[in-house]
């Protein structure tokens, strides 16, 4: 006991003597970081077909305003430079280059969209600038070997599909599955996840697959075909407009299989309401973030933080908009990473710290969902919780489930 104390004292003395020296040695910066400032770049479609996501950029700016008002990150103020790419990949390349070469940012954070991020991924990795917490559900951002400077954030579509497959294997082992999916990267990623998780059984369990293109006015035919194929589980990998159509059609042809709805379309206002509350009872889905409309979070400390933030820094934001919850959560994660970096604000250290998150909890994620990364795992969130539509809202049930296979 004594010797330990003495050792500690010796360390403390050494610390005092060497403090100025080591502090100097520790303060290392790459372009974009100084004693007083950290420059963070961002690319979001404020205009164009996906401009609804512009809200995310606004929320992120507001969150950094809050951080700066509270004294910054380890005393450094954040300068958030967010550019519009109008959801156009060539524009995203131009904006990424402008951020890195002209503005000199430390990293690019939460650039949005699978096509735009695909376009800049190679550039970012050649330049060795972090492309951190990409805003896209594609699974390809988790590839630390090929792309050590790129990392995703939200659960991938594949993770979500794994969870549905696990649920089906457990609850309905004799399922005859019919899948309706959108014919693009989103839909295909999902189907792949589903098949991977069902493993050997996928060939026998998935009885019918129907894909649709977004140009189709109606998907009624596909739904009818899936019913006629004799399926008793219906998985709807659809975007909101088509999700609502499918729910309605099921009710219309009086077909009541076990029904799954992708998280993308789990919005009550955007899908369930237009499809009808009556028709939506019992639908299954999964979530990883809290919903501001859900009364069960009224006394939740994380949700209280979120609402207090909105009131003070972003009063015009719509708290029911999932993009606001998203922007808040992902920015909180980044701030945590930058705090962990301490005075070593190099790009390599940012990636190192981002790949070293242990059981991090975020205000707006469901209780129990924790962020974990490692040098071989660049998928921060892979847990979700199942939920069932009951009455006029989603009811979470069961345990937190991991989207990783082999668990």
């Amino acid at each position: 006991m004594h010797s330990r104390l003495r050792g500690a004292a010796a360390l403390a003395v050494a610390g005092i003597i060497f403090a100025p020296l080591s502090a100097l040695a520790q303060k290392t910066y790459d372009t974009g970081a100084t004693d007083t400032e950290i420059k963070i770049g961002n690319i979001i479609p404020y205009s164009g077909p996906a401009s609804a996501y512009g809200v995310i950029g606004k929320t992120e700016q507001a969150y950094f305003n809050k951080i700066n008002a509270e004294g910054g990150i380890n005393g450094r103020k954040v300068k958030f430079i967010s550019y519009d790419d109008a959801y156009s990949p060539p524009k995203a390349v131009e904006q990424a280059r402008r951020l890195v070469e002209s503005d000199g940012v430390l990293l690019i954070f939460n650039s949005l969209g699978t096509p735009s991020n695909s376009a800049i991924q190679k550039y970012m990795n050649t330049k060795q600038v972090p492309q951190l917490f990409v805003a896209s559900g594609a699974s390809k951002w988790n590839d630390p070997k090929e792309f050590p400077w790129t990392m995703g954030w939200q659960p991938s579509y594949q993770s979500e599909a794994h969870i549905y497959a696990k649920y089906i294997l457990k609850e309905k082992p004799d399922a005859k599955i019919g899948v309706l999916y959108q014919n693009d990267d989103f839909g295909k990623d999902y189907v792949k996840g589903l098949k991977d998780a069902l493993g050997e059984k996928s060939a026998s369990m998935i009885v019918a697959e129907e894909s649709y293109g977004t140009e189709e006015p109606s998907i009624d035919d596909h739904v009818v075909k899936l019913k006629e194929a004799g399926t008793n589980v219906f998985i709807s990998i659809t975007t909101p407009k088509f999700a609502a159509q499918a729910i309605k059609k099921l009710a219309e042809i009086d077909w009541h299989p076990m029904q799954f709805l992708s998280n993308v379309s789990a919005s009550i206002g955007g899908v369930i309401e237009p499809a009808g509350y009556e028709n939506s009872q019992g639908i299954l889905s999964a979530a990883y973030a809290k919903e501001a409309a859900d009364p069960q979070w009224d006394n939740d400390p994380g949700m209280k933080n979120f609402l207090a933030f909105l009131q003070q820094y972003d009063p015009t934001a719509n708290k029911l908009d999932g993009a606001v919850i998203y922007g808040y959560g992902v920015t909180q994660t980044l701030v945590h990473v930058l705090q962990m970096c301490g005075n070593d604000l190099t790009r390599a250290n940012v990636m190192k710290q981002a790949a070293n998150l242990k059981d991090l909890e975020i205000d707006t994620l469901l209780p129990g969902i924790k962020i974990n990364t490692s040098p071989t795992d660049f998928a921060p969130i892979h847990q979700l919780r199942m939920m069932r539509f009951t009455g006029r809202k989603w009811e979470l049930f069961g345990d937190i489930m991991s989207g990783e296979l082999g668990h």
């Binding site: 519009d84 156009s88 060539p90 402008r98 070469e101 096509p115 695909s118 014919n183």
Partner: protein
């Protein structure tokens, strides 16, 4: 004055495309040389990001030039240039990435392919004129991103995920960065295409095109094969757009269906109007407008960038309806006054 008289345009004013005499289509020799010298010196003094933007400017400039030949030369409208741009870009990307063809060789291939596609599309499109042709090409532009996503060509196109293209190094061990090399490479092709276009419009074929633009009936009465020349104009325009698309794919290092939406076609159209319809050097001024002005608008207001852009565009059209050409002529007259 009867109602019937109101709707019949009686003079040149009624025409959507103002006739441009062929001499007014280009810059003087002296000015051309100054511009050329500036373009060659630019990468030596600016950052690599600006070099990249300048390369993009040349690429879009070529695409606008192509449209200018079609609209300014033969008087046909097209809102489908993004489709030819996409074909050129994909041709180059697929050849480079899937078949390991040298990037420089993919450019003529893209040009020839797009010429063929444009020529074929021009056959039925010929029967249409004015707004109807614009609509037909509009349909082509709308269809293109979806066609590129088709399942059965996915092994080549990469589907919705697109294709990543490797950036070429400077050849023969030249001591310059990839960006600088690409700039000069693009500049060389741009100059070649520009000179060829100027010569085309000054040639017999060019005169035939302009005759068609000014009065189709009179042109055919003079013995001009209207159908042939109109399709040729379409083909040439598509071919040049394809070259621009191929260069674009190499410069941006990525192709995906979402890169070539109708927005691109409208941008090119906008570039042509701002640059001055029928004035070839204006194409590059128009390209600068569509690249830099959205960035300026964004720096004014993020939420209202579209509105700011609209106001700027409105100002340009209101103050200088003939675009950069009008500015050029005005400054020429001003210089002339000083000389006296």
């Amino acid at each position: 004055m009867s109602a019937a008289e109101d709707v019949v345009p009686t003079d040149q004013e009624g025409q959507a495309v103002e006739a441009v005499p062929k001499r007014a289509m280009t810059l003087g020799t002296g000015t051309s040389l100054v511009v050329l010298a500036l373009l060659i010196l630019t990468p030596l003094v600016v950052k690599s990001f600006v070099t990249f933007q300048m390369t993009q400017l040349l690429v879009y400039g070529l695409a606008v030039l192509a449209l200018n030949i079609l609209t300014g030369g033969s008087g046909q409208f097209s809102l489908g240039q993004s489709a030819f741009y996409a074909i050129g870009a994909y041709a180059s990307a697929i050849l480079i990435e899937q078949f390991n063809v040298n990037y420089a060789l993919t450019i003529p291939v893209a040009g020839v392919l797009c010429f063929a596609v444009g020529f074929l599309f021009g056959q039925p499109a010929l029967r249409l004129s004015g707004v109807y042709l614009a609509l037909a090409t509009f349909a082509l532009a709308t269809a293109m991103p979806q066609l590129l996503k088709l399942n059965f060509i996915e092994p080549w196109t990469g589907g919705v995920q697109g294709l990543v293209v490797d950036k070429p190094d400077a050849p023969f061990g030249l001591p310059m960065s990839q960006d600088t090399w690409l700039y000069y490479f693009t500049l060389a092709i741009t100059i070649a295409v520009y000179v060829a276009s100027v010569n085309l419009l000054r040639s017999r074929s060019g005169r035939a095109l302009m005759a068609i633009r000014d009065n189709e009936i009179a042109a055919s009465a003079m013995g001009v094969n209207v159908a042939l020349y109109k399709t040729l104009a379409f083909g040439v325009s598509a071919g040049i757009t394809g070259v621009a698309g191929a260069l674009g794919a190499i410069v941006v290092q990525f192709v995906a269906p979402d890169s070539f939406t109708i927005t691109l076609a409208i941008q090119l159209f906008l570039g042509m109007v701002v640059g001055g319809v029928g004035w070839l050097p204006g194409s590059f001024v128009g390209a600068a407008f569509i690249i830099f002005v959205p960035n300026m608008a964004e720096s004014v207001s993020k939420g209202l960038s579209g509105a700011v852009f609209g106001v700027l565009l409105f100002l340009v059209i209101y103050l200088v309806p003939h675009g950069a050409r009008q500015v050029a002529i005005a400054s020429q007259q001003l210089i002339g006054k000083f000389r006296k």
